[in-house]
């Protein structure tokens, strides 16, 4: 009764994990009075309507930049955070509301590995004890009631040693009594993997599992994960920002941006022919280690926006190099554009007519500014004039620029409804393919 062999891996192809329109919203902390005055609840939209499924024996990569919600999806999948709405199924069972003992039993089947192996190991616990710890906690589940007995201790030790061998943490006899501080980064990550494996889980969530490791040992740990999958039919949710590493490991890839999956499909297709402009951007920025292949890059503008008020329509539209008029342009996009325009020293004259920027207010599709009656018409003309310098798609999306009473009012056309579209073997959320 040693090692992981006793477990019969689930049939390949069975759906092991499914997320169905999962939302995870985190409340924003604010003072009580401010909360009372707020019209609506202020939340961070960490995950917004995410659905996917993972089949047994498959590795699904969740790829995106920080703040895209990939970690939250991973944690929600093993119920380390609770979904705000939507349903999570594990091996066919709805686990989204599971709690207490039922959840604890389930945790034997789902384990998570974090980015920093050093922080994941108790510095005062020997490696052998740390790896065997889950067995002490879940011992009863293995039909061994008497956890104080010598037999149980022996059994745990045997299992720990064989798991250590399996993850390449050798010589296991020597390392058993070492402390995390005595191990190298790669060894520590192997110890963390061993601890996650010892209960014989069927799903492993690996959250940036190799990002902190040095380049020369990263490959070894990736290979180990692939090996373990082959030998035990493990299923992984592989969370990473590194599309190059994901290429090696993943069968399918889901690209996330600001809480949404923008593209999901077989890894091979995503790398050979990315569809979503964001996927293209991510692929483009991976450095090529060949000085002869330097090239100019067309990068998305700016950075990932705030997830408290994500952009309307397609969330990537303010940064997208391939943006269309119907992608979701709204009032604040104009205000952002104007802000940039006014900060250009060459346009200093416009400040007196259109500034200050704080005078503008964006509300949904509308951007407006109060002005003196004699200035309103002038401001409207000026807005029309500077729009020549705006992105074409944004200019095309503007329905009207008008003067109403003492207000300059700019109104955008409503965006087209964004739907997830099947393109060959994958699903893309982009108007270009609708």
């Amino acid at each position: 009764m040693t090692g992981l062999e006793e477990r019969s891996p689930p049939e390949l192809g069975d759906e092991i994990l499914r997320l169905d329109n999962v939302n995870v919203h985190f409340p924003v902390k604010m003072p009580f009075v401010q909360r009372l005055l707020q019209r609506e609840e202020v939340v961070v939209h960490a995950v917004d309507g995410v659905s996917f499924s993972v089949r047994a024996g498959e590795i699904l990569g969740l790829v995106g930049e920080s703040g895209c919600g990939k970690t939250t999806v991973g944690r929600a999948s093993v119920r380390l955070v609770n979904p705000t709405s939507g349903r999570i199924f594990f091996a066919g069972q709805d686990i989204s509301k599971l709690g207490g003992r039922n959840l604890r039993v389930l945790r034997r089947k789902m384990q998570i590995i974090f980015q920093d192996p050093h922080a994941s190991l108790n510095p005062a616990m020997t490696i052998g004890r740390a790896i065997g710890h889950p067995l002490w906690i879940h011992g009863a589940a293995f039909g061994l009631q008497n956890r104080g007995s010598e037999a149980f201790g022996k059994w745990v030790q045997q299992r720990v040693l064989s798991t250590m061998r399996e993850v390449g943490l050798t010589p296991e006899g020597q390392l058993f009594d070492k402390f995390p501080g005595d191990l190298s980064g790669g060894q520590k990550q192997r110890a963390v993997i061993a601890r996650a494996l010892i209960l014989g889980p069927s799903l492993l969530v690996v959250d940036e599992g190799v990002s902190m490791l040095d380049m020369s040992i990263r490959a070894k740990v990736l290979e180990l994960m692939i090996d373990l999958k082959r030998h035990h039919g493990l299923t992984y949710l592989f969370i990473t920002h590194d599309l190059a590493a994901a290429k090696f490991v993943c069968d399918r890839i889901a690209i996330m941006y600001l809480g949404r999956i923008v593209e999901i499909g077989p890894a091979r297709d995503i790398y050979s022919d990315p569809k979503h402009p964001y996927t293209k951007a991510l692929l483009q920025v991976i450095p090529i280690p060949d000085p002869d292949k330097r090239k100019e890059k067309v990068l998305p503008r700016g950075e990932v926006p705030d997830a408290v008020h994500p952009p309307s329509g397609c969330r990537f539209h303010p940064r997208c190099p391939a943006v269309l008029a119907a992608c979701g342009w709204e009032g604040r996009d104009f205000v952002d554009f104007l802000d940039d325009h006014l900060s250009d020293p060459k346009q200093a004259g416009d400040e007196s007519i259109l500034g200050p920027i704080e005078g503008w207010r964006a509300d949904g599709l509308v951007a407006m500014m109060k002005a003196e009656p004699e200035n309103v018409e002038k401001a409207v003309e000026r807005v029309k004039a500077i729009l020549v310098g705006a992105p074409t798609a944004m200019t095309q999306a503007i329905a009207s620029v008008s003067a109403q009473n003492r207000t300059v009012m700019l109104r955008f056309n409503p965006p087209n409804e964004l739907r997830q579209t099947q393109v060959q073997d994958r699903v893309v959320e982009c108007l270009l393919y609708q």
Partner: protein
């Protein structure tokens, strides 16, 4: 032309309870005017120690031998006052994490004014206008100069730190993992900015990084460090296309990029620098190691013009 910076036989030994950690040993390196020199290596190879040694910010009690010549002047014996003038004015540093440089209780304006007035006797008005200029040159709106660091995104903070580093127009910029904490797209943006700056000000950039992909994209020359020793130095083209040191070869093979067909790694792990291996420090992990590698420290040899390597068998890989 005389190099801007010459590091000559520099040894840095940190004092710890277990003994001296030989972080750098008889280390040599020249940085030329206007070049981007990549310094690469893995955790604990001494690359950050090099940056700190140049700036004279090593912890007290550290043993330093050898010379660091900047424009011909030895920095290792420079007094505190002189060093303070040099930092910022001549040599500036960009850290990995902008929040280690930015004071959360100071506005961006205060940072700039302090930096400028510490080094130059200019009026506050003049300092403020230069601060605005520097900020705008990094693509951040002037109106945000009164904001505090926490009000900016990660990429903006990094740009603010770059603006702060170059506001006094230093001739050498040391960038220690400047993009490691950033997202991949922002990383690409920041690297573009560093390239533009180098061209605009004819600055030398010492880019310390573990990411060889970045080196290939932005550097002119590259120095490869292993366990406190310089193992290879040369123009990026030569080093990437014809690596002469087995460590460089292993490191290049282990990069995972989109065209990688097979995963490679280097056997073993880096040595303990309290008692480093004899001879070539890489010999316990080297697939080509012979008895001479255990016995004799390999000298740094110029195997082809400008391309140096410290390997007894470097000529075999030419």
């Amino acid at each position: 032309m005389e190099p801007l910076l010459q590091v000559q036989d520099l040894s840095v030994h940190y004092k710890t309870r277990r003994g001296f950690v030989r972080a750098l040993e008889e280390f040599k390196l020249d940085a030329l005017q206007g070049e981007t020199l990549g310094v690469v290596g893995e955790t604990g190879c001494g690359k950050s120690t090099l940056g700190k040694a140049i700036l004279g910010i090593l912890p007290a009690g550290t043993q330093v031998e050898g010379k660091v010549l900047f424009r011909g002047r030895d920095l290792t014996h420079l007094g505190n006052q002189m060093y303070r003038r040099l930092r910022g004015e001549e040599i500036a540093l960009i850290f990995q994490d902008p929040m280690t440089r930015l004071n959360p209780l100071m506005t961006i304006m205060d940072h700039f004014v302090e930096e400028i007035q510490d080094h130059e006797s200019v009026s506050s008005a003049e300092a403020r206008s230069r601060a605005r200029e520097a900020l705008v040159s990094m693509g951040i709106h002037e109106s945000r100069i009164k904001n505090y660091p926490h009000e900016f995104s990660g990429g903006m903070r990094q740009r603010i730190m770059i603006a702060l580093a170059i506001v006094l127009k230093p001739s050498l910029l040391i960038a220690d993992e400047p993009t490691t904490s950033l997202d991949v797209i922002v990383e690409s943006q920041i690297l573009g900015i560093l390239q533009d700056l180098k061209r605009a000000y004819h600055m030398s950039v010492l880019l310390i990084t573990h990411n060889l992909g970045i080196v290939a994209e932005v550097c002119d020359r590259v120095a490869v460090l292993y366990a406190g020793k310089l193992v290879e130095l040369g123009p990026v083209r030569n080093v990437f296309h014809k690596p002469l040191h087995p460590y460089t070869q292993g490191l290049l093979a282990s990069i995972i990029h989109l065209e990688t067909r097979e995963l490679h790694s280097i056997e073993g792990s880096p040595p303990d620098l309290i008692a480093p291996p004899s001879g070539c420090r890489f010999h316990p992990r080297c697939p080509y190691a012979q008895s001479i590698c255990v016995e004799k420290v390999p000298p740094l040899v110029e195997f082809e013009p400008g391309h140096f390597a410290a390997c007894h068998f470097g000529d075999k890989f030419l």
